[in-house]
Symmetry: D2
Subunit: 346 residues, 4 copies
């Protein structure tokens, strides 16, 4: 049993980590921290956990934490982790950070979109935790920068195709749609029920901070600069993310190469479900509560446009689930350990 | 490993049985029947199950079924089970029926509200599967009539109080609210998204067929005829049921007796969570996807009115979860086996 | 054309007042005040109003307001109106206040549930604005305390029956269900989309401040003290309120008296739609966006229990619509003026 | 007063026509037909209309209709109108057809995607009812083929830009999202509340029949063949449609030309609200219940990609509202007559 702690356990991603880890057969949840709810039983904050996770939340105390955990998940707003993670690593722990603080290898890129980085020396060694893509590196890492939800949904379909040259990197478009939990648990007018219900809209068109995160990986994998047109939208539902990608098939590629390439890339990976070019289309409902990423595609021969569709649960494969998958890899466990409860039809 | 089958696996209750049984450590799912989808992989009907439950649905063939299962769940519309269950029992199987066909001990009561009963000889031996109330009888039974969702939500708070004489049986009111999945998976105007969304309404006021089912048990436990005013309502959500009960405290009872009585009745039972007279109030969100029944209460001394509130997931404690709990009891397993995956905060 | 102003125009009730008044043929909207959005065009706060109501919100300035309006609607949180209304009345204006500040004739009752009243001298002259019940008094009033949404939904079905002695005042129960807009536009965890969606729950059981407001009117009309068991619930929808009332038929009353009494009380009133004892049941969807109150009922002869159901739009008949209806009465207009746009089927 | 009839009044588009026409100051609704509900009061089918539209639905009888109406709206499934419209025209009536039957000038295009056309002689004279684009032709027409909802949302932003050569017709992408009412009122598994709730998905990728309808107009206006990649998605809400368009700016065009071009094209048109390149983004909530089309845009200079966003209410500007706007044009009325009730903030 590995002892693990969740720092920032009472946001939505933190609570989802607790849900998954509480059912994980190889770990023991030794500490849950929360500034706002220190001293309050976790199940008082989230009554769904009553009788299941009743331990009290606590203030973050790095010394004490280091004695009680071997792996720490940090689920905090951007900027806070870079003040904490160095000390956790110094104490010999492994860290999976769910913020943007350790997702960028290029410090200046991070600083252009976020703020000055106070632990830049860690960036080269941090691994971008896209589990199916950087599996080997994650296995050997001590610090994982866990991907954002939008990047996960965009990169999983695209990376293998770009690597293999099946799609052209020009004119890439990602039209993404996210449930409201992606905005976090903070009470804002934007997440007010009456403002979301019977509403569908785009936001931060062309300016969302996940754009540089995605482009960094796309460019690295394509071996040249890739510019993505990224438009996120808000869906009146709690969980789920669907991304519709538009990519041009490479001039010399055969449409059949899409299936072949994706099948090869994801063979044996339990959480990638390929729906094919003629099969069902991904639906967020089918991945709700699971760590799966469903990928479907259609080819429009009239304009050589490839339409790729991916569905994930933004809180699971888009956050907590992928984080636990990364932990499994780091610990040498089967990557699916603790991540296979059967989801519901509803 | 006990071999189990689900007859009628592609309705919402059936699919929920599959979800729970697929994750149950002591059973093997050997057969899923569906008239509509015979020959189709279960995961084609419910893509959420892809890679998890891919076996094909099949036509019901009782002889073959009897050779492949020791326990059968029948999740069919009323009337069909009474044609099937006798033959399953004859073949030596144990049966948990989720319809109304085996919930009534009094044949005439059933026939007044449903139709002529074609297997009345089985009624005296069938046990009403309210797990926490008829535990001993369920353990010894071969045929369980699994309770309806509304009856479960009404009876769990009321039965102990009526048995102990803490509440008066006069003027009982159950104001219940159910999510839409309670109406089943059939496509009707009533369940059309646009007809339900931004709608809240009562239906079948005073005429719902769960009324005689509830009154049968209340009367049995109170030792005299109990008439209930029962008003069901439809809530624009998929899962969940909240019942608000209004009961008068018995003339000689102390309000503190409510807590004492419920605590005694449900001590050690993992799925009943008592919220107390001053604690949090039940919320369907807190029991979503779980087999829990949360019970809270408030006492209004001005008119000696006791308000009891219960929340369940109509598809779990109100159907498939309680059915599996009953199977656990019948098989001598811990009643919570396979029923404790941690639910989400959302 | 009467010049009217809305003080507190950017809450949900305020915005609904603006919607209705902007389409009212006999009034001119001369001023919209908002502390938070002073200087901002109303249509920037609520883009739905773009091209329709583009005038800027302004700080409240009572002197200036008095010169520009003959009628003022105050849609502010409790406590603020009692500091403003006396000065508006002194300036010769008529006021319809949507808070609780002028709903109670008995100052001590108000003070027990809210705070010290700083304009108690106005209470005896203020009229409780339940349009169909206090029509004559409203016509002659200069200050109307507009009813709360829950009180409106409870009182419209009950008052005529209590006045006529058709129902017994004992053991009255109101089980009410409200959409989320009733909680206002402030961003709180309670109104966060993810906390409301797939959730149904009761709140403030037996302690909601609308209870004394309702009991005050019931007691006045029944001529004796009436205690109500009132349980409000939150429904995952934006607009709408359904109340299910349980009342005992008076010992000497005939069930047919219910219909006769309600028909007599509401003859000729355009916004009360009686659904009868056998007809359709009220549904919040059918009154969405309208000033209607639909009332249905069923009688359970086994325990002489009368079940009454009422549906309103909490923002219209439960707030802004009734306020405009009251203004119409005060101005000697047809009470339905400006309140009859045809609602949608959805 | 012009006498108008609605043929097929009990589908969602039909009911929306009734809503709008019942409040229209220049028309009298003389007949509502419905095969399913013949003889039933319209307000029994849609109780929201009680006291407002109580007239009975009737079987379609063309002779009788011709005597009672000067304008007929046909809101029927594709194929039925082409059997009816010729006779209505012969009787001297004007017709606005909401199906696809009269949207195509090219018979073979219609027949490739629908079925054999039985009234092809009418196609050359039918006008495509995109009100702001074909205003002059609509004014003079006797038969209007009212546009589909998706085409309306795609064409209103694109047509002026294509006409003016501001955008390149190559690589056009329309990623559209529709509320559930677009699927109609028929009860199907696809529109079952539980299948839609917490679900977001694409459907008919590249195969939706609105694609040829859109391409026909785009090609006509661009003066050359335009191929569009069109992907429709289903949003868990009742009403509303948002389309995100991706177009490449023409090689010689300045980004500022977008605003200039759209402002010129839609100057003085009451229902087009341009949000600009830096202002708010369109949201379906802001156009709910209205005939408005809100259009916003952002330019990504890195890849010369123009992102255009449009929001409409699929039942109003996408169906019934535009139909009434077309009627207004045909009758020589102000195009906004009867279409300006103020919408709500919610």
């Amino acid at each position: 049993m590995t002892r693990v702690a969740v720092v920032g356990a009472t946001g939505y991603a933190g609570a989802e980590l607790v849900r998954i880890l509480a059912g994980h057969p190889q770990v023991e949840l030794t500490a849950l921290t929360s500034r706002q709810y220190a001293g309050v039983p976790f199940s008082r904050v989230f009554p769904a956990f009553e009788t299941l996770v009743d331990q009290a939340c606590e203030e973050l105390d790095i010394e004490r934490l280091a004695q009680r955990a071997a792996v720490v998940f940090t689920a905090l707003p951007h900027k806070l982790p870079m003040g904490i993670v160095p000390r956790l690593l110094d104490a010999g722990l492994r860290v999976i950070d769910l913020s943007a603080d350790f997702r960028f290898q290029d410090r200046t890129l991070y600083e252009r979109h976020y703020q000055p980085h106070t632990a830049p020396e860690l960036l080269p060694g941090a691994v971008y935790g896209l589990s199916e893509v950087y599996t080997t590196q994650i296995r050997q890492s001590r610090l994982v920068g866990n991907p954002g939800c939008y990047p996960t949904s965009v990169l999983l379909p695209l990376v293998p195709l770009l690597r293999a040259g099946v799609v052209d990197g020009q004119g890439l478009i990602a039209d993404s749609k996210s449930g409201v939990s992606g905005a976090g648990r903070a009470a804002t007018l934007t997440t007010h029920f009456c403002e979301v219900h019977e509403s569908f809209k785009a936001y931060k068109v062309g300016t969302h901070r996940h754009t540089p995160e995605i482009e960094q990986i796309l460019s690295r994998e394509a071996g040249r600069d890739i510019a993505l047109s990224f438009v996120p939208h808000l869906v009146p539902m709690s969980r789920g993310m669907l991304t519709t990608l538009y990519a041009r098939l490479a001039a010399d590629a055969d449409p059949a190469a899409v299936a072949a390439c994706l099948e090869r890339a994801y063979a044996g990976r339990p959480f990638i479900r390929l729906c094919g070019s003629a099969g069902r289309l991904p639906d967020t409902r089918y991945v709700r509560g699971t760590n799966c990423c469903d990928i479907g595609w259609r080819f429009d021969s009239r304009n050589r446009q490839l339409v790729l569709l991916s569905a994930i649960d933004n809180l699971v494969k888009g956050a907590a689930g992928q984080a636990v998958q990364n932990m499994n890899l780091m610990l040498g466990l089967d990557e699916a350990t603790g991540l296979r409860p059967v989801p519901g039809a509803l």
